[in-house]
């Protein structure tokens, strides 16, 4: 992360940084928290509703209904991204739109759409994971680490 590399600031730079911080308009933290809560909660509600529909009318059981639910949420997010609406919603909702899996889908769809001008292979194919890549990389590495820990603590082939 950029913040990790500390740059020694001179006294003048320190003073300037304080001046700049004093002028910086504060982020409306409480307003943003409330909006994120409402938006994120609402998206999860939609997800819950979709899951119930798959269980009651789709013939899926509780455990298996997760897959089609995620697929539908992703599809909805991609459609909203295509319509040019998701980014406007995100300015209002902040993390409420970024944290749900819909944010993940938006990051991929927006990158794919944007880089289509560089061709399907290098543009769409090569840059689709521009923003979602870190999530997949670190998720995989974390899962691997957890797996190793489990192996060492509990032993393989049975708990």
């Amino acid at each position: 992360m950029a913040n990790n590399i500390k740059k020694n600031l001179t006294r003048v730079q320190q003073e300037y940084k304080e001046l700049a911080q004093s002028v910086e308009p504060p982020r409306p933290i409480l307003k943003n928290f409330i909006r994120a809560f409402i938006a994120g909660g609402a998206i999860c509600l939609v997800g819950q509703a979709i899951q119930e529909m798959f269980v009651h009318w789709g013939g899926f059981d509780e455990k298996k209904a997760g897959d089609p639910t995620v697929a539908v949420m992703i599809l909805l997010s991609v459609i909203l991204t295509c319509a040019g609406v998701y980014d406007k919603f995100a300015q209002w909702a902040g993390a409420g739109s970024a944290v749900p899996v819909t944010g993940f889908a938006n990051s991929m769809a927006s990158a794919a759409i944007e880089h289509q001008s560089e061709g399907m292979v290098l543009g769409v194919g090569g840059k689709m994971f521009k923003l979602a890549g870190p999530v997949i990389v670190f998720g995989t590495v974390a899962a691997f680490a957890v797996g190793i820990v489990h192996l060492l603590i509990k032993g393989g082939g049975g708990s």
Partner: protein, 339 residues
């Protein structure tokens, strides 16, 4: 001729013979819309990509400026231009179309005055008869290159700025009439350790102040010499910081009106631009369109335009570097028949 340490005095007073400004639809909804020559209806401008649309902007501005000067492109000796795109492709590809001997420059958002200063110098020293100076920016191509894909849902903080979709071009020559370029000050790179690319105003303000102070020092004048000193795109946050810095340095900015192009081009009430505007096109279209129109109407006699630029790249930011900035100043005075 050289004046002081880093300034040029243009004793032959080259004219800004003509200007042209071309903007996108968002700028066309702002308070200065009537001052722009061409306002496009959609920001893709019928092209297949944002980058191609940006080329259209600068090509149209360049061609219109040449036309407004009553010239053909074959008569123009040099085209000095730059923009925000990697390898300044917008300007380079426009130069391909124009076929004018080309000097590409990179000053980020300070390019408008950097190119105008160089153009005035070439003409003033007899190194050229007609020089085209121009720059452009496009909000979507800038977002795509520096920040996120345009459809990505990221929440912009209140310090963020909106890149102007616009191009401004000017023809400078000894022949003709119009506002004259009287002097210019080339800025030094100033870096006060600001690292936040969503707070360019704070990064650029010290460079603007440094160049303005150097200008009055080099030329031996007071800020009150000018009716208006305007910075390129400090926007709300940078502007306030600059005012505080002037006070801290006991610089008598109150002798004149001090304003900022980034705060003029959009309507804060109706347009969501957080702190204000930025981009090479910002200072270019506001100066060549709005300010020179005011000058032509006799409302302004002497102005100092100080375009400000942030010289970072996405990689420098990711590698933990802070943001070095620069500001270039050009003084423009009303043509002789108005004075």
């Amino acid at each position: 001729m050289l004046k002081g340490h880093q300034s040029w005095l243009f004793e032959n007073k080259p004219f800004i013979r003509s200007t042209a400004t071309v903007v996108g639809p968002f700028e066309g909804r702002g308070p200065l819309a009537k001052d722009f020559d061409i306002v496009h209806g959609e920001s893709m401008m019928g092209q297949k990509s944002w980058e191609k649309a940006e080329k259209v902007l600068i090509e149209e501005a360049a061609k219109l400026a040449i036309e407004n000067a009553g010239l053909t492109k074959e008569q123009v000796q040099f085209y000095i231009g730059g923009d925000l795109m990697n390898q300044i492709i917008s300007s380079s590809f426009a130069a391909r179309t124009l076929s004018i001997p080309y000097i590409g420059v990179f000053g980020a958002c300070s390019t408008s005055m950097e190119s105008l200063a160089l153009a005035a110098n070439l003409v003033n020293s007899g190194s050229a008869k007609f020089v085209l100076a121009g720059t452009c920016s496009h909000d979507s191509s800038a977002e795509k290159q520096f920040r996120y894909p345009t459809e990505y849902g990221s929440q912009k903080p209140p310090t963020a700025q909106y890149t102007v979709t616009g191009a401004g071009a000017a023809i400078v020559s000894m022949e003709g009439d119009g506002p004259v370029v009287t002097s210019a000050t080339i800025g030094r790179v100033i870096d006060m350790g600001i690292k936040d690319p969503f707070n360019m105003g704070a990064a650029m303000a010290p460079a603007a102040v440094d160049t303005i102070e150097a200008h009055v020092r080099d030329l031996g004048i007071e800020p009150g010499y000018y009716d208006l000193i305007v910075t390129g795109d400090l926007a709300k946050v940078g502007y306030e910081i600059a005012c505080k810095l002037f006070k801290k340095h006991n610089f008598p900015i109150e002798q004149t009106e001090y304003s900022d192009c980034g705060m003029m081009i959009y309507d804060y009430e109706t347009q969501m631009v957080q702190a204000g505007a930025s981009g090479c096109g910002c200072s270019a279209v506001v100066t060549y369109g709005h300010l020179l129109n005011r000058m032509r109407r006799g409302e302004l006699k002497r102005i100092l335009v100080v375009a400000t630029g942030a010289l970072l790249s996405p990689i420098s930011f990711q590698q933990g570097e802070s943001i070095p900035c620069i500001a270039h100043a050009v003084s423009i005075e009303a043509g002789r028949e108005i004075l």
